[in-house]
């Protein structure tokens, strides 16, 4: 070591500097982990006052959000029922997925399999650009324009045909509601289509070209190839794409708050105002003063987190499984 000056190249001191560096960078991961832990623990800790006056079961399945009720004997009982908002979240996300999944997947198939190169690039860019638009801007457009168009077209048409048979699709023809669960679902669909397209495109592109060629070589049409080869091969990945988008729909707050109407209770029809978990938190935090009121919102947060967390785990499992499968195929 005497020949060269080790320190000039960082020899000698290097080992200690390296381990310090590792610890420093590793601590960044720890910080991120602690933040996530903080998000969870803060909700659990703040929700404690609610569990003093009611049970988690009565919270999740209670059908009224009445707040604290003073009972005849003077004690305080909680009457926070989250079922209507959980219902609102489930139904609006379901509507969104039912629309976004077929549209997004078919659009992705078109972009990958059929679109001429000159059209594919700009079209993909435009479809996925929607994902970059802030949700409050989408909410403003939805409340001011889209919502009214939907009310006067799809909603009116469905209500005056199917609505006569199914009460949950009916509306008062003289006074249609200015906001509705259905419209929230449509807005969510528009917001998550770019995500379905983006992920589906990757999945479809990764289906080996030789599978397609083999089937086309046997005389199949392009559509038959897609239907019998490409889509089955991409099935797992496409499920992942849809679940990823579902997670986005469940958690979306501001755009939904602006079109869903924030009405208490489970509406009798999809064309009436409702509420989701996220929109409830966003519209109620201002009035939450007492520990139980804040706690009830925190408990809603726990429900929302649980839903999205389970989805994240499910997606991870699916991706793992598909990776193992494709590994075997190779």
């Amino acid at each position: 070591m005497s020949v060269t000056n080790g320190n000039r190249f960082g020899f000698g001191s290097g080992v200690r500097a390296d381990s310090l560096f590792r610890i420093l960078f590793g601590s960044a991961v720890v910080v991120a982990g602690l933040l996530l832990l903080g998000v969870i623990l803060s909700m659990v800790a703040s929700s404690m006052p609610v569990w003093d006056i009611q049970t988690p079961l009565s919270f999740v399945f209670g059908d009224r959000w009445a707040g604290e009720v003073t009972q005849p004997d003077g004690s305080i009982a909680g009457n926070y029922g989250a079922f209507p908002v959980i219902w609102g979240t489930a139904v609006s996300s379901l509507i969104a997925i039912l629309i976004a999944a077929p549209v997004g997947i078919l659009a992705a198939v078109y972009l990958v399999e059929f679109a001429p190169r000159k059209l594919a690039a700009p079209l993909t860019f435009l479809v996925e650009l929607m994902a970059a638009i802030p949700s409050v801007v989408i909410g403003l457009w939805a409340a001011g324009d889209l919502s009214i168009r939907l009310r006067d077209s799809v909603e009116w048409w469905v209500a005056s045909t199917l609505g006569r048979v199914f009460p949950w699709l009916s509306e008062d023809p003289n006074a249609p509601a200015s906001q509705s669960v259905f419209r929230a679902g449509m807005v969510l669909a528009i917001m998550i289509i770019p995500m379905v397209v983006a992920v589906s495109r990757e999945v479809i592109r990764s289906v080996p070209q030789s599978l397609r060629e083999g089937f086309i070589g046997m005389g199949a049409t392009r559509w038959e190839t897609i239907r019998h080869v490409v889509l089955p091969a991409a099935r797992v990945g496409l499920t992942g794409a849809v679940l990823l988008a579902l997670g986005r729909a469940i958690g979306e707050t501001i755009a939904v708050t602006m079109v869903i109407g924030n009405a208490e209770g489970i509406p009798s029809s999809l064309f009436l105002p409702g509420q989701t978990i996220a929109s409830k938190i966003a519209s109620n935090y201002g009035e939450a003063g007492s520990p139980t009121q804040v706690g009830a919102l925190a408990a809603l947060g726990i429900c929302l987190f649980a839903l999205t967390f389970l989805l994240s785990l499910a997606i991870r499992l699916i991706v793992r499984r598909s990776m193992r499968q494709s590994g075997r195929a190779r």
């Binding site: 500097a17 590792r22 910080v31 929607m130 990757e202």
Partner: protein
């Protein structure tokens, strides 16, 4: 097995029966798929047209430069507030996200790395309102509705975006680049900072821009933390602050034409910023799927 001799006319003549049906359904599905792809673009066009038509009449220099308290009210305090909150949050989130992403790729054992991946997935999947709720439950009781609370909430949302993008681009740096540097006797930390990260620099920037564009557009976490105000606060993170998304949300239901118009105009400004940032990211080499 019998061989059928095909002539040119066999290939070009219209198929009949089953084949005709197959061809028809092929063409039908082709059009259906084209229609869905086109339909997916319609909302974007509708949105941009609508916001532009309604927002442009309210755009003026006063609108950008005046505060809501001036005689001709504007949204200068919201623009200043959005910039401050976003910059402050990215100053917190970028080092943590980049360092964490680098660590997971370069140093972590497979088990830690996979746990880190799960952490990023869960954080990316966590609805933004929960980041707001977190700051609302932890920071607001201590400091009140404030810029600090907003920075905490936005950082929680930005860190996983930066971390995921960092991971994706660091992975693309060829091993040979690192090995060459290490073989010269350059210590690991110098190699990581000045060779690996340097090579991936434009990708790291992409992550930061994505995080900034996410931070600029978030509304719910800001409502629960910074709350919004008519005052102009400069570097006063201890007080309530205003931001463009808050203005849009609050003015959208205003009773008077001016405020509703200002909501449209603010949305137009935010829309343009979001589109510019997105286009800037798209035209870089690395096309991340995070946002």
């Amino acid at each position: 097995m019998s061989f059928v001799r095909l002539t040119a006319s066999d290939l070009t003549k219209a198929p009949s029966g089953r084949d005709a049906r197959r061809r028809r359904s092929d063409q039908l599905m082709r059009s259906v798929m084209f229609a869905t792809a086109a339909a997916a673009v319609i909302p974007l066009i509708g949105l941009i047209t609508f916001i532009a038509i309604h927002g442009v009449p309210f755009l003026s220099s006063q609108f950008i430069l005046n505060s809501p308290l001036d005689k001709e009210p504007g949204i200068s305090n919201a623009i200043i507030g959005s910039l401050q909150l976003t910059i402050a949050s990215i100053i917190v989130a970028a080092p943590v996200g980049i360092a964490g992403g680098v660590y997971l790729n370069e140093f972590a054992s497979p088990r830690v790395s996979s746990a880190g991946e799960l952490l990023i997935d869960v954080m990316l999947g966590t609805p933004s309102i929960l980041a707001g709720l977190f700051a609302f439950l932890v920071v607001v009781p201590a400091l009140g509705f404030s810029g600090y609370a907003a920075i905490v909430a936005l950082s929680v949302l930005m860190i996983p975006v930066v971390m995921r993008t960092t991971q994706e681009v660091i992975r693309l740096v060829p091993a040979g680049v690192r090995e060459a540097s290490l073989a010269l006797g350059i210590p690991v930390w110098k190699t990581t900072l000045f060779v690996t990260c340097r090579t991936a620099a434009s990708g790291l920037l992409t992550g930061i821009v994505l995080a900034i564009s996410r931070g600029l557009g978030e509304t719910a976490p800001l409502l629960l933390t910074a709350k919004g105000t008519n005052d102009t606060e400069i570097l006063n993170f201890g007080s309530t602050m205003n931001a463009m998304p808050i203005v849009i949300y609050r003015y959208a239901y205003a009773a008077d034409k001016l405020h509703i118009g200002q909501a449209w105009a603010t949305a137009l400004v935010l829309l343009v910023i979001a589109l510019v940032l997105n286009v800037a990211v798209r035209f870089r080499t690395i096309n991340s799927r995070v946002a």
